[in-house]
Point group: C2
Chain length 199, copies 2
């Protein structure tokens, strides 16, 4: 019973927690979902909370690695804003459980909210705030927009698209693609922040 | 046992469903929360599903009335876009359970998702799409932005602010107010859509 077993348990648990929330899943559900016996699951994780913590650590670890890459390197503030948005769509594709887990924590925070969720979100929000502040100092973005508000506006445009996927197909023109929505949202945001548009 | 009793039951149920979701609440919880005996509650609603349906109908009814007012009258497309955003903040203040109930339906749709949630959201999204299309035809908003995407971008800026309230106080500068965030989001959106900013 090695790494592969643990991974199968964590994978099955990730899907179940994303679908049902951390209070709606038992170790038995996870055993059934992973095809691993309940005694092996219990040997790896003493209870559902420990397993849920492991899932959040894994998912927010992947998120941190992906978002961290955005703010490295020496691109312009505008380029980094574009990379920030594109990274959100990559995460949505590569870790489809990440956003549901995040939204569930916002609606019903677990004991892991402060140490895992908030800590990671704050870290990247702060990097984005600094990037927008840099754009303002360099005269690329207009003054008068608070960088922290701008980060939340930028994130919100994309988050609602993920949250409202069940609605998107009836609200958006066919065939709507992630790339097309992301491109239009970025265009509105960057034009909205452009120095030339200064009022 | 008249109108007032029913209202107390529905009010208590609304808060509990917003906090815990429609599968996490029993008729006994609602009896306890309302201070009305379980037999009276059962006399009014045969089961939790019926009561949950009544709560969604009431909440989406208030939402429909408030949002409907936005698109009446003969304001300009820009003015109606501003009223659309302000109406969201009014709803958030006056019916604080509305958005959590909506977000929970997006994550875990109930049988009421199609007939109540989707029906109402589609209706107002459609009015907003038409308003933005009108702004484009009148030359007030630039071409190249799809009206349906623009509506989702506008809604998303504000929805994430409500969803991430637990994070907002640590992410936004103090003292952040709804009015200030709404004003900055609108400014980015309207500048982003302005004809003058056409690329």
């Amino acid at each position: 019973m090695g790494h592969a077993t643990r991974e199968r348990v964590v994978d099955a648990a990730t899907k179940l927690f994303a679908e049902k929330g951390h209070t709606g899943v038992s170790l038995q559900d996870i055993a059934d979902g992973s095809g691993i016996g309940i005694s092996s699951v219990s040997g790896l994780f003493s209870d559902v909370d420990e397993l849920y913590g492991a899932v959040l650590e894994t998912e927010f670890g992947l998120y941190a690695a992906r978002m961290g890459a955005v703010f490295e390197g020496d691109g312009s503030p505008q380029e980094k804003t574009e990379l920030f948005a594109l990274a959100m769509y990559d995460i949505h594709k590569q870790s489809p459980c990440f956003f549901p887990l995040f939204y569930r924590e916002l609606l019903n925070p677990s004991p892991f909210f402060e140490p895992v969720v908030k800590k990671n979100i704050q870290r990247f929000a702060y990097l984005s705030d600094n990037n927008i502040a840099r754009g303002i100092r360099k005269g690329q973005f207009k003054r008068g927009i608070n960088p922290a508000y701008a980060t939340m506006i930028l994130a919100g445009m994309h988050h609602y698209y993920f949250l409202a996927r069940r609605l998107a197909e009836s609200l958006l023109p066919e065939p709507a693609t992630d790339e097309e929505y992301a491109a239009q949202a970025l265009r509105v945001f960057l034009t909205g922040l452009k120095k030339e548009g200064e009022e």
